[in-house]
């Protein structure tokens, strides 16, 4: 279990993490989702004690991580796949880490096989691809057979097989009763892996809820309707206080009313309906809605060419 209490990190006047509080529970995969620069990595680094918090505190299984007698047994972390000396082999790298906790060589070989690094274990890490580096990082995170696992962007650089492996691994670790905390800026990844979601933007927690309730919480259900007399249908629905949009002459998008109710009204008014589609809000939509105000590096759309053409300085641009 990981607990953060009013955890803050400031660099000069810039606040990277702003008094975040959350709990990561054992037995499920908790996703840590946010745009680049939102403070995900900084928060994770504070949890393992690499960064000193400017305020607040973080505990792992009840104690600040550095105070554990056998830290690797409590928490394993993949924070940076490149945190390895390039001239060492994967095997000696893991053996050096294992030696600090008297973890036997048999366990080192076990995690090497587990991560699928067997064929390259004796090769220099410097020649590893990003994906193999990720696998080595995950192997080192599992070395101490820890109760809590933190993985920062674990699927970065992995091939499709590796991505699936990480998903299954995260789920099986959680199924064993471990605490699994993994970050990503890819909502599609989270939708497939996480049970619970903590969304961070500009150093603040925007949402902390089960993944389904985050999807559900984003706006009322929308229904797409194709009807021959849309105006008549809308007139009858207006009484119910629902909002609607006419997208095409015979295509409507209606928000705030159940599909069945729309069909009933249509029948009552003799309106022909030839499409009635409930629109599922995806996690992606929910995420975009949640973080639209919180994106650190927002891409601005370029000025339209029409404006440029109208401008006398257009040719210079």
């Amino acid at each position: 279990m990981i607990e953060a209490q009013a955890l803050s990190k400031r660099y000069g006047t810039k606040t990277a993490v702003d008094a975040v509080s959350f709990t990561v529970q054992p037995g499920k995969v908790t996703g840590f989702l946010g745009p680049n620069g939102a403070g995900k990595s900084t928060t994770m680094r504070m949890i393992v004690g690499l960064d000193n918090p400017s305020g607040g505190r973080a505990t792992v299984n009840g104690l600040p991580y550095p105070q554990h007698k056998a830290p690797l047994r409590e928490l394993g972390a993949l924070l940076d796949a490149k945190a390895v000396h390039p001239k060492r082999s994967a095997y000696t790298h893991l053996r050096a880490l294992a030696a600090t906790h008297a973890i036997p060589d048999s366990r080192v070989r076990e995690v090497i096989e587990l991560a699928g690094l067997g064929p390259v274990a004796k090769k220099r890490v410097g020649g590893f691809s990003l994906g193999m580096g990720q696998r080595l990082g995950i192997a080192s995170a599992l070395l101490g057979d820890p109760q809590t696992v933190i993985l920062d962007e674990p699927v970065n650089g992995l091939d499709p097989e590796g991505v699936q492996w990480v998903r299954r691994l995260a789920k099986s670790l959680a199924a064993e009763g471990r605490t699994v905390f993994l970050s990503s800026h890819l909502m599609s990844e989270m939708a497939l892996t996480a049970d619970h979601l903590i969304v961070i933007g500009r150093g603040r927690i925007i949402a902390d809820a089960p993944i389904q309730s985050i999807i559900d919480g984003q706006g009322a259900a929308r229904v797409r309707v194709r009807a021959d007399r849309p105006q008549d249908l809308l007139g009858s629905l207006a009484a119910d206080g629902v909002s609607s949009q006419i997208l095409e002459p015979e295509l409507l998008e209606i928000t705030g009313v159940e599909p069945r109710h729309i069909a009933e009204i249509a029948v009552r008014n003799g309106v022909l309906i030839y499409e009635l589609t409930p629109i599922q809000v995806s996690l992606e939509d929910a995420y975009m809605q949640l973080t639209s105000q919180e994106v650190e590096y927002q891409s601005r759309s370029l000025p339209s060419t029409g404006l440029l053409a109208a401008s006398s300085e257009g040719h210079r641009a």
Binding site: N61, D80, K82, R95, A99, G118, R168, R178
Partner: protein
């Protein structure tokens, strides 16, 4: 376990252990971190090669000096002159300082290696792996310092001891041979190792403070080998500069391996206090700074 992870990654998982704290015998201890650092140092081939080269060259330099000393003696037939070359007041002690005469070269390499070992942790990002596994930073740093200091001592004292046996047949041709039991002979050999150990602590502390290989190497070599030259140049006319030069870390090291102590000069033990003091000061500073900084 030979099952490829690609086919059965999940089934390869170990049984759940929800309360790892109850497992005994896997606490982090200084001895275990020492072992980890030993694995790290010995698993980078270039490090091992450098250590071997340093040892061989230190022995070679001693043999070369012994040969040169006897050669000039045999040519000139003047023991006094050879003795002066060693800065000794009599011919009998001329040979005593030869076993550790490769020390300056040894310092250059071992100081550089000490800087590289710690600065490369930051350079490669390895420090983050290291400090996640051993979050008590002083423990991690002290273990690395100890392993490097231990290796440096063995390189220094070991090469001086081997050099002692290598140079005896050469020195004997000019009647300069001496026994290990001779006054100051063993102390010189042991102190050659001690100087290298203290210098490695000194340099690794600088490397820890600067966190950059090039900057750390330049700074430690500058302080150990260039600063004394500057002090000699500027100390020629100014007494306080010459006086201050006696307290340089390199001066302390020089006195530690001296086989004769000039009138008014520091003894071997005083030299050890000076070099040891500098090393301890920088070590303390490096621990204090690393404790507070983000990595």
């Amino acid at each position: 376990m030979t099952t490829p992870a690609t086919t059965a990654p999940t089934s390869a998982l170990p049984a759940p252990r929800p309360h790892p704290r109850h497992e005994a015998g896997s606490d982090v201890s200084f001895g275990r971190v020492l072992k980890s650092e030993w694995i790290k140092i010995t698993s980078v081939p270039s490090t091992v090669i450098l250590i071997i080269i340093t040892t061989v060259v230190m022995i070679g330099l001693a043999a070369l000096l012994a040969w040169q000393t006897t050669l000039s003696l045999n040519l000139e037939g003047d023991p006094e002159m050879a003795a002066q070359m060693q800065g000794s007041s009599n011919a009998a002690s001329a040979g005593l300082g030869i076993p550790g005469s490769g020390l300056a070269f040894g310092q250059l390499l071992m100081a550089s290696l000490a800087v590289v070992l710690i600065a490369s942790e930051w350079g490669t990002g390895m420090i983050r792996s290291t400090l996640v596994v051993v979050p008590r930073r002083s423990l991690a740093l002290l273990a690395k310092q100890s392993v490097m200091a231990g290796i440096s001592f063995v390189v220094g004292a070991g090469s001086a001891l081997v050099a002692y046996f290598v140079v005896q047949p050469i020195l004997n041709t000019a009647d300069l041979g001496f026994a290990l039991s001779d006054d100051g002979a063993l102390l010189h050999i042991v102190n050659t190792g001690l100087v290298l150990a203290l210098v490695s602590i000194f340099a690794m502390s600088i490397g820890t403070l600067i966190r950059n290989t090039a900057g750390g190497v330049v700074t430690s070599i500058g302080v150990l080998l260039v600063l004394p030259i500057l002090f000699t140049v500027f100390g020629a006319g100014t007494e306080w500069v010459a006086d201050a030069a006696r307290f340089l870390p390199s001066s302390g090291g020089d006195q530690m391996v001296a086989t004769t102590i000039a009138e008014g000069a520091f003894t071997q033990w005083q030299g050890a206090l000076i070099l040891g003091g500098w090393s301890l000061l920088l070590l303390t500073a490096s621990l204090a700074v690393t404790r507070k900084q983000d990595v």
